[in-house]
């Protein structure tokens, strides 16, 4: 493990059309001639090829730990785009595990992921999880990881994206790509890691009780068909559910919040069944739960990216870099101008600290006051 002066963090990005070329360029830029101990790769679906993963790995000398996943877009100090972003870390104690989640359940996958902690002996440690947002209940993975990590080691990360196409996500590990692997890493350092999370939403109106639900589908609110209650409370047009794209645009900025001890757990409503009159969310909304409609000032939601990153950085005495996991529904909610503004505010807030981030299908932070999986949220990990 390196002393403070020997630790470093570099970010490179490439939008080159050829995936392998983009991977090599991004990695070269991230390394800046240095030798990395860990690479964290974020790539859009268009660039998620074995050739890209091999090119990144080869560019770093072929003997380096590497994890990564697909995204719904990436961002760095150069702005946002769809290509390859490589985050390179040097001087940290690091260990990685690729968990084959087709052969074990998600809880066990979390247990195996956090088992990398056995390899790292450091004063401060953090588990970086890159989940698969399309798997059924990622909270189970967080629970499994927490059963090993315990209260002393924070869990942080995001779930792989697929350009919001719901087609499939990929993970990168060492020199390959795989759909059935949950990549993750444990980092250790003599300095604390900084973690921040923000969303900018707040509850509005009266609470509703989820009177019938099953997995991610809400059938009834307050004893009535959930879609009817939702449209009435949000002022949505009765025929809105017939047009899935229009409904998603409408519902992305009108999420539900689950009552929790400290605030709300946000649940995105992304689809509705006009026949069943039900709503579909990206995560379980349990029967019996009390929910509110959530609202936000655009400004606060725009600022969430910078707020989370600044909170993470301020917990570190000499921050070297930041990894940012930003919900993939936020670009839909904020629109192109709004998300560009979020990215430019992040750049202004962190200057001159480098950062690499991606739009994720679920954000992970497990520490006091945060129980695991989050949605419509931004999570940041600062290393120093």
């Amino acid at each position: 493990m390196g002393a403070a002066g020997e630790r470093w963090f570099g970010v490179g990005r490439s939008l080159a059309a050829d995936p392998a070329e983009a991977g090599a360029q991004a990695c070269r830029e991230a390394l800046g001639g240095r030798r990395a101990g860990l690479l964290v790769v974020f790539a859009s679906l268009s660039h998620a090829t074995r050739g890209m993963a091999e090119a990144v790995h080869a560019e770093a000398g072929g003997d380096v730990l590497m994890i990564g996943c697909t995204t719904s877009g990436e961002f760095t100090t150069d702005g946002r785009g769809s290509g390859v972003v490589v985050n390179a870390l040097g001087g940290y104690a690091a260990s990685v595990r690729a968990v084959p989640h087709d052969s074990v359940d998600l809880y066990e996958a979390g247990v195996i992921a956090a088992s990398s902690l056995d390899d790292i002996d450091a004063e401060h440690r953090v588990v970086l999880l890159l989940g698969d947002g399309r798997s059924s209940d990622q909270q189970e993975m967080v629970r499994g990881a927490y059963s090993v990590a315990g209260a002393q080691v924070p869990l942080v990360g995001g779930c792989a994206g697929d350009d919001a196409t719901q087609t499939g996500t990929w993970a990168f590990f060492s020199s390959g790509t795989d759909v059935q692997v949950l990549p993750n890493a444990v980092l250790g350092a003599p300095e604390p890691f900084g973690i921040g999370a923000a969303h900018g939403w707040r509850r509005t109106g009266e609470p509703m009780v989820v009177s019938r639900s099953e997995s991610g589908t809400i059938h009834e609110l307050d004893g009535e068909p959930a879609l009817d209650v939702y449209l009435r409370r949000t002022g949505g047009a009765p025929g809105l559910a017939a047009d899935p794209a229009a409904f998603l645009r409408f519902a992305a900025v009108r999420p539900l919040g689950l009552a929790r001890r400290t605030g709300e757990d946000i649940r995105i409503v992304f689809a509705a069944d006009p026949v069943e009159r039900s709503l579909s969310g990206l995560a379980d909304t349990p029967e019996g739960a009390m929910v509110w409609l959530m609202e936000a000032d655009d400004d606060e939601v725009v600022d969430a990216t910078a707020t989370a990153a600044v909170a993470a950085v301020s917990a570190v005495s000499a921050p070297l870099g930041v990894l940012v996991f930003d919900c993939c529904v936020r670009p839909i909610a904020l629109g192109s101008d709004g998300i560009d503004l979020a990215v430019s505010r992040l750049r202004d807030a962190l200057k001159p600290i480098p950062y690499g981030g991606f739009y994720s299908n679920g954000e992970i932070v497990r520490k006091p006051q945060a129980k695991g999986m989050h949605h419509l949220t931004v999570v940041a990990l600062a290393v120093g």
């Binding site: 927490y146 209260a151 609470p207 409370r233 949505g236 009390m290 129980k371 695991g372």
Partner: protein
């Protein structure tokens, strides 16, 4: 905190009833207990064994947990430092405990109550699973007699019915079922699980609900009083009672009178009766606490006299509706002013005036559609948000329906009283909620001035300044 705890308990119920083994039930319990209270550490302890633990790594020393006694306080965990602690027993006759620890602040009364509820449900689930495992064992060995097996199966079925009944009560409590019905469900639920018993819920010295007959209410109230004074379960003869709490404060008692009290032969095991008593007393406490919280949320947004939404909630809703659909006349706003109200107030007194306002609110509710929102803006002024609106004629029809309904005579304080509503209509589109209310108010004034008891629609040429008294 607002009503989150009882709802967390419902989620806990759903999760724990899905557990198929003792290990998985204990694991779910520590996960849910920590997540619902933002705690870092939890464990389920049975004697010297730790069935499951969370927050101190994979295999923490069991002594860390087994040395902790029932109650609240602080404890030091190696590596995690000093934490606030709460420890709950899983049942009356067991040393099993649910332990939860948190760094940031002590556990509040509501949280401890919720965790006690979780502990109780876990205790019942564990006993049920043990019975199930024992039954499986018996089947495998084929050594026991048929009668013994039958008893086990019956015991198991009773446990399952208990969990199902508790879950049903929880759901009803959260679906805002009237409290009296929830109480009846609790006492009836407990009675149905035990043979030949009378079950009562006593609140503030009076019997709020009783199931089964044959035991007089004085004896039930006295038993509840003893449990309240003792701060825990008490047994006297055939009567057992446990205190019921609202937000942590003692408010009454839950009483089970066994068959002996009513002159019949009792056949239910003592421990089962005590389990049922404890579980249902907690259900009653949670239902009451939840109802108080929901009532407080409702109070904040509603006019206490008429129970209609307040001005704040109304304007908020209008803003939401006009923001969601800016199309002209996608919604409309009715502004109502009561003629002759002042005379009723002056001649029959304020109490009669209040009664009239309540009656008007009731008719207003009945005259508009389910999707519309009536509100009291203050004094004798009411408003209705009409949403959705297919065409302007629909608004006129509803306005006329409201006028006709409110014009029918009222029976107030033994006298027949009349009032009339003058109504202003304004249509949404490109205006703020405040402006829409102003326009409807102006139109109402025009109606009142031209012909009381009619409606007028807002026209842009209407004078912007209202006289001070109209």
């Amino acid at each position: 905190m607002s009503g989150w705890s009882a709802l967390q308990l419902t989620e806990f119920f759903s999760a724990i009833t899905r557990a198929g083994t003792i290990a998985s039930a204990a694991r779910i319990a520590v996960q849910r207990a920590t997540e619902s209270t933002d705690a870092e550490v939890a464990a389920v302890v049975c004697g010297d064994d730790v069935l499951a633990s969370l927050g101190l790594g994979r295999d923490p020393s069991s002594v860390l947990f087994t040395s902790l006694a029932h109650g609240a306080g602080t404890a030091s965990f190696s590596g995690a430092g000093r934490m606030h602690l709460t420890v709950h027993v899983l049942g009356q006759d067991t040393s099993e405990r649910l332990i939860v620890a948190r760094a940031d602040e002590p556990f509040a009364a509501e949280e401890r109550q919720m965790l006690q509820g979780m502990a109780r449900v876990l205790g019942l689930a564990l006993r049920s699973l043990r019975t199930l495992e024992a039954e499986r064992q018996l089947r495998l060995e084929r050594e026991r007699e048929a009668l013994a097996r039958l008893e086990l199966v019956e015991a198991l079925e009773r446990r399952e019915r208990l969990l199902e009944t508790l879950l049903r009560v929880q759901r009803s409590a959260h679906q805002r079922t009237p409290l009296a019905e929830v109480f009846a469900m609790i006492t009836e639920g407990a009675r149905s699980l035990l043979d030949d018993v009378t079950v009562a819920l006593v609140l503030h010295g009076a019997v709020a609900s009783v199931s089964g007959g044959g035991c007089d209410s004085t004896a039930l109230a006295e038993a509840a009083g003893r449990a309240m004074a003792a701060g825990g379960a008490v047994t006297r003869g055939p009567l057992i009672a446990a205190p019921v709490h609202i937000d942590g404060a003692v408010a009454g008692g839950f009483v089970i009178a066994s068959a002996a009290a009513v002159g019949l032969g009792g056949g239910v095991r003592e421990s089962e009766r005590r389990d049922v008593l404890a579980a249902f007393a907690e259900q009653a406490s949670l239902a009451l606490t939840g109802a108080h919280t929901l009532a407080a949320v409702h109070e904040a947004h509603h006019d206490p006299l008429t129970r209609l939404p307040s001005r704040t909630l109304f304007l908020q809703r209008v803003e939401e509706v006009i923001a969601a659909d800016p199309t002209p006349a996608a919604a409309a706003l009715l502004y109502l002013d009561l003629d002759l109200f002042k005379q009723v107030n002056d001649t029959l007194g304020h109490a009669a005036g209040d009664e009239l306002l309540r009656a008007v609110a009731g008719r207003l509710r009945a005259a508009v559609r389910d999707t519309d929102m009536p509100a009291r803006l203050g004094g004798d002024e009411f408003a209705v948000l009409l949403d959705p609106l297919a065409h302007e004629q629909q608004a006129r029809d509803i306005a006329q329906r409201v006028i006709d309904s409110l014009a029918r005579p009222y029976d107030i304080a033994g006298r027949t009283v009349f009032t009339r509503a003058s109504v202003g209509i304004a249509y949404s589109g490109g205006r703020s909620a405040g402006r829409l209310v102003e326009e409807a108010d102006l139109a109402m004034y025009q109606a009142k001035r031209s012909r009381k008891g009619t409606y007028q629609e807002f026209q842009p040429h209407m004078p912007a300044d209202l006289p001070q008294a109209c």
